[in-house]
Amino acid sequence: MSLANEFTKGIIRENPLFRLLLGMCPALAVTTSVDNGLGMGVAFSVVLLASNIVISAMRSIIPNSVRIPAYIVIVATFVTMIDLLMHAFTPALYTALGIFIPLIVVNCIILGRAEAFSGKNPVIPSIMDALGMGVGFTLALVLVSAFREVLGAGTFFGQTILPENIPAIMMILPPGGFITLGCLLAILNKIQKKTA
């Protein structure tokens, strides 16, 4: 597989949210506004990139029988660093994302990439894999949150774009998250079927 392929597979073919259906919890919980979706996606991507690099660089010295605890320690370290740095430099985003930053530790996509990819592949392909998956997950979050913010609050990036009586508040409440995600998955499956 070429490097470009490693990058693009995470965006469409193996998109973590839409095709692998991983990372559902943050995808439903933080996508109430595009700001939050984008912030979560970027924080997630940074952690994934750092952990993929370290794990793939250490893949020959991590003993197979303790690889999962080692991965978790590495991921948790990066998440805590991001958590502290976000608190220090982007307090507004930190408050908005709240508990979902520490929860990146147990985000199944990151552990999944460590198991499925960076634990077995050299550093450069692992970087491409992390970038692709990061971009893919971020785009997916932005797409879900764009629908929810526009339909639920009538705003986009905080700018009002719909008249006040159109938005349905349900869309930014939990049911709206499930409905949006379900509809998007259905549409993407339809497109996928046609092209396949």
Binding site: V66, V73, T80, M81
Partner: protein, 195 residues
């Protein structure tokens, strides 16, 4: 047996390196975070009681007697060396969690200068609007003589606060918190103060 030592040693080394890295980042971030929290507090004080030279936390003096548990802090705003306003930090139970509010009072006029919702976990799009200016402005310049009450229609009396549409519980919670501060203010700094 040897394997167990090797594996434990490996995890120990990994955890040790992580710990060292974390303590470095922590030492970088902690002063910035502390500064941020301090700055936030100063900014909120300015927002709630703009005309003051300095604000001192005097909870130790004013909250030493039995008081409403909603009251968390009493800050005195000084102007020209004289106490001019009181800033209460209050916590109240909203629809889905604690709402913490800063409420400012002017001593000379016995009125609310402004309130600010510092943190809340209310429903996005509904109760979370409590942190929006338009709702907080409904408390501005209210007289402290009468207890504030929540109405669902446009207010006709001075002590009425119009609720946020579809978020009566949140509106009542915020009002309850402000009322707790108002009562303490009246008893301690108001016209009929006991000194």
């Amino acid at each position: 047996m040897r394997d167990i030592f090797k594996l434990s040693l490996f995890l120990l080394v990994v955890a040790g390196i992580s710990g060292a890295g974390l303590s470095y980042v922590n030492s970088l971030a902690t002063p910035l975070i502390a500064e941020q929290i301090r700055q936030n507090k100063i900014d909120s004080f300015k927002e709630v009681y703009p005309q003051s030279d300095k604000v001192e936390n005097e909870s130790a003096v004013y909250l030493k007697d039995a008081h409403d548990p909603a009251l968390k802090e009493v800050n005195i705003a000084y102007r020209g060396g004289m106490p001019a306003g009181v800033l209460y930090a209050v916590e109240t139970k909203g629809y889905s969690g604690t709402i913490s509010i800063l409420a400012g009072f002017d001593i000379a006029d016995s009125r609310i200068t402004a309130i600010k919702v510092l943190s809340q976990t209310e429903t996005p799009g509904l109760g979370a609007k409590a942190k929006d200016r338009f709702f907080q402005d409904r408390y501005k310049d209210k007289n402290t003589t009468l207890p504030l009450e929540v109405t669902k229609t446009a207010p006709v009396k001075d002590n009425q606060i119009q609720a946020i549409t579809a978020s009566t519980i949140t509106s009542k919670a915020v009002t309850k918190g402000v009322n707790a501060a108002r009562e303490h203010f009246n008893a301690t700094f108001g016209a009929g103060k006991k000194q």
